[in-house]
């Protein structure tokens, strides 16, 4: 319990500077906008954005939750597929060499160009949003999984050889644990891309979600609502990233302890 309290105190100390900066920034922003009389369509005052967060015909929290669901579903599907491809690549040089160019090419295509095609395939509902998101949060883990599985220590491999380990044991007890730090690099990138994927797919065609809110706010020049939606999408991205980072701390304690030691 004291350990938990110490950790919470540690987080509070770490968060203190950014909290102070945010409060000061918001106050200065509010005062400047009010004093100079800057119109809301250029820069809305923080108080107007705050109001917009909770007003409008549909609550922004509901749209955010929907986009969050699309992000998470796409992230999970994309990550699972990416991980599987990464494993295949790590074990077969031939497959890696024949498919890697396609995977890299697919990653360089702008998502706004792919999204309409996927929309046509998967319809205008939730499925197509998740598909676009999965498409975007696929590549980083595939690549990092492959790199991670190849990053094992050669002497450790010889330890397993002398101890007569089976290929399955080598995978689960050596290569996969060695790959975990890489896997989390991939997952953190994936989770960031997944929010982008969900919002971009809502730009293309949707009647709900944060992307839809941003588009309609833009067309109606409702700038406080646009800024509020931007804020909500940033908070969503941060929340998902923090969840993955927390899982990382939990799953690879030897890694985080190593970093703290430095």
């Amino acid at each position: 319990m004291t350990d938990l309290r110490a950790r919470l105190t540690g987080y509070a100390v770490a968060a203190f500077p950014v909290a102070v900066t945010t409060v000061v920034l918001v106050i200065v922003w509010e005062v400047l906008v009010t004093v100079t009389g800057t119109p809301a369509y250029i820069i809305p005052a923080p108080s107007r954005i705050w109001d917009a967060l909770f007003s409008g015909n549909a609550n922004l929290a509901w749209h955010t939750a929907l986009t969050g669901f699309e992000s998470i579903a796409g992230f999970v599907i994309g990550s699972v597929l990416g991980a599987m491809l990464g494993i295949v690549f790590a074990y077969s040089r031939f497959i890696a060499r024949s498919l890697m160019p396609y995977v890299i090419a697919s990653n360089t295509i702008p998502v706004v160009a792919v999204a309409p095609i996927i929309m046509l395939w998967f319809g205008s509902g939730l499925g197509s949003k998740i598909a676009v998101t999965a498409f975007l949060s696929f590549f980083p883990l595939a690549l990092n999984m492959m790199k991670g599985l190849q990053s094992y220590d050669r002497t450790v491999m010889e330890v397993f050889h002398v101890a007569a380990a089976t290929p399955t044991q080598r995978f689960f007890k050596m290569r996969l644990p060695s790959a975990l730090p890489y896997i989390f690099v991939g997952l953190k990138l994936n989770v960031t891309f997944s929010v982008i994927g969900a919002i971009v797919s809502e730009f293309v065609q949707a009647d709900r979600g944060l992307g839809f809110v941003i588009m309609t706010a833009y067309r109606t020049l409702n700038m406080p609502r646009l800024w509020a939606a931007m804020l909500a999408s940033a908070l969503l991205g941060i929340l998902l990233f923090v969840l993955v980072a927390a899982a990382e701390r939990l799953l690879i304690p030897w890694h985080s302890s190593m970093r703290e030691a430095k």
Partner: protein
Amino acid sequence: MTAMASIPILSFKDIDVVYGGERGTHAVTALKAIDLDIREGEFVSLIGPSGCGKSTLLRVAADLIKPSAGTARIDGLSPSDARLNREIGFVFQDAALLEWRRILANVALPLELQGIPKDKRLARARELLRLVGIAEFENAWPRQLSGGMRQRASIARAMSTRPRVMMMDEPFGALDQITRDRLNLELSALAEREKMTVVFVTHSIHEAIFLSDRVVVMSPRPGRITEVIDVDLPRPRTLAVRETPRFNELCRLGERLLGEGFHD
């Protein structure tokens, strides 16, 4: 020596190891016509300059390299069968611990791979940690230990399956002199108490003489055995043995055999 003890537990017969040579690349003969028998319970060191093939010979015995010609036998088995029977323990220069496992689970790894039940293998691992003197670190991460402690854990791990032959490839090569002396002393006592058969690769003639019953001196290009020194120093050995005239005499003999320009 009884008749039983003179049956070799590890034997090399006419071993050649040649690297490269295919597709017109330059072939390098790492080992040429090596014959060597090691008896049960014997402590044998392989010593020689870089490129003499001493590590290669050890790796042939542990089934980490296939010889180009000749045969190695461990307790009558091929290296591959002996490995699958878990009769080989191997300690590398790098402790090669799994960073994601605490020390206890690291030491228990070979037993885990063998399918030994958890309570049994952890009990054995604890016993080994006591034996190598790091019982209080069973819950530490490898990163938290010094180089000497990591190597102790690595030795405990190699001993876990009670192998017939323990092979050590410059295990103390990366440690400072004080730690090295201490581990030499403890390894000597441990090998004697546990009646281990050890093949030990080193660059240091002092280390080799101190630890061994026999020291195999090798020379490079191609790797071959120059001479075998019988070490007739009494056991158990303490660091004081290094002050005796006989110890120094054997070291000088070893240095002479290793040739000019050899430095410890």
